[in-house]
């Protein structure tokens, strides 16, 4: 089946799902208090946006700061650890272990130290985004073709030139992959900290909507964050492809 056919199937399936949901809710097969019909969710979008856009702005600002810190640290340390063999062999088991630990266990401590304020949520975002970026960048730098480095060095490249002209460009796909995955993780970290501690932002707002049984607005808010994050990730993907062509 061709592209158009696949797109048609996608639209048809989503439409069927929405219709079935609408019907189930209207015919009271499910309790509309908990599962309001999609039309009610769409209708409440207007109210939610008024309330949620400033909160979404709070959350995104925190995410941007946390993300920038995590990417800076992750790429910097990743290039360092990736290019020094002994350092890599000594630290990587710990890095991988920390990478696979549920970071949420640390969030209560962060809130205790930094208080119920934006910096705690930012640090939560850093904590979630840093390790995936680091692990991917270390892998990318480690796998840079050694021949490239040898040739450049034998041609008299300085250490700085070596990194700027050879190592970083060669590791760029891994760095970009890290930046893509880091973005989603930074959002998770910020939202989770907001939910846990009740810090002003989208996470806390959604938690409040859930606790006040405001299902229609909650689903609308969920859709808002989801759409935003999907758009952000897809545009990073497009950027990657663009850079890939340029390389």
């Amino acid at each position: 089946m061709d592209r158009v056919g696949v797109a048609r199937l996608q639209v048809a399936s989503l439409a069927t799902l929405a219709l079935a949901w609408e019907a189930a809710s209207r015919l009271r097969l499910v309790d509309p208090l908990f599962v309001p019909p999609p039309t009610a969710v769409v209708a409440s979008m207007g109210t939610v946006i008024q309330q949620a856009l400033p909160r979404l702005g709070d959350t995104l600002l925190k995410t941007a700061v946390g993300y920038a810190i995590a990417v800076g640290l992750g790429v910097g340390l990743g290039v360092l650890i990736g290019s020094v063999q002994t350092l890599r062999q000594v630290t990587m088991p710990y890095v991988v272990a920390l990478y696979s630990l549920p970071k949420i266990l640390v969030i209560p401590w962060i809130v205790l130290i930094l208080g119920v304020r934006a910096p705690a949520a930012i640090l939560g975002g850093v904590l979630f985004a840093f390790f995936p970026v680091l692990v991917l960048v270390v892998g990318g730098v480690r796998d840079v073709e050694p021949v490239l480095v040898t040739i450049a060095a034998s041609m008299g490249a300085s250490r700085w030139q070596l990194y700027q002209k050879v190592v970083i460009p060669a590791a760029l796909p891994a760095i970009l992959a890290g930046m893509r995955i880091g973005l989603v993780f930074a959002l998770v970290g910020v939202l989770l900290t907001e939910m846990f501690a009740g810090i002003r932002g989208m996470g806390f707002l959604m938690q409040q909507l859930a606790l006040s049984f405001n299902a229609a607005q909650l689903f609308a808010a969920t859709a808002l964050v989801s759409v935003f994050s999907i758009v952000a990730v897809l545009s990073l993907d497009a950027l990657n492809q663009h850079l890939g062509k340029w390389r």
Binding site: M1, G5, V6, L9, Q10, S13, L14, F34, V35, T86, Q89, V90, T91, P93, Y94, A97, S100, L101, P102, I104, L105, V106, I107, P108, W109, L112, I113, V184, F185, L187, V188, L191, L192, M195, F196, G203, M206, Q207, L209, A210, L211, F213, A215, L218, F219, T222, V225, S226, S229, I230, V233, L234
Partner: protein
Amino acid sequence: MRLIFLRGALLALVVAIWELIARPLDPVLYVAPSTLPQAALRLLNQPDIPPLLEHLGATVRAILAAYALAVTAGLALGFLMGFWRVVARAYEPILAALYAVPSVVWYPSMMLLFGLGTASKVAFGFLLGFFPIVLAVLAGIKQADPHLLTVATSMGASRWAIYWKVLIPGMAGTLAGGLRSGLALSVVGVLAGELLGSRAGIGYMINHVYNLLRTPEYVALAVLMATLVLAVDSAAGRLEARVKRWTG
């Protein structure tokens, strides 16, 4: 040998530095490692602390239920979609896009639909664990060698035989990777749900001692949980490596 020594030295150094930093500071905010064994003991024998083993059991049961659901639904839906190439091509991008959504946004809805009890934690752990598994099945089916499939079909293999003899061995490595990430994410989902509000489980205990500002007990619980997660994850990692060696 030297490497193991260096690794051990690094860990010891970090712990020692932390001990030196934490000692003179407020023990409610900064927990020195040397106070942890005592805190762990207090977790076991103080009457005002909820029983550890009972709550650990609740968490483990919730994780097992969430993971069992995620594996069942992930494999079933993955293979069902894989049967029809068109369906897989249509639904995979939708699933991949949903996977790009920061997973916590689903939790408030789970809380609304399933309440504050165990059900919402299981639902959240299931949701997180489901995605990597179904995506691994789809990726595995896609990477199957079309040449082998053609040969098998032309030799009259049934659809069933193609699945068992060609597809599954070819995709076992990818599948094992997906099952491992699914387990890790089911664990995260249950723990996150418990920490965001619950009446049972390790997350509940952490919140309980945390709200009493008994930070050493909180840290001891977090270290216990981290150790368990690492043990399970490294066991799963070894299993995954073995499957990959098997199938090449």
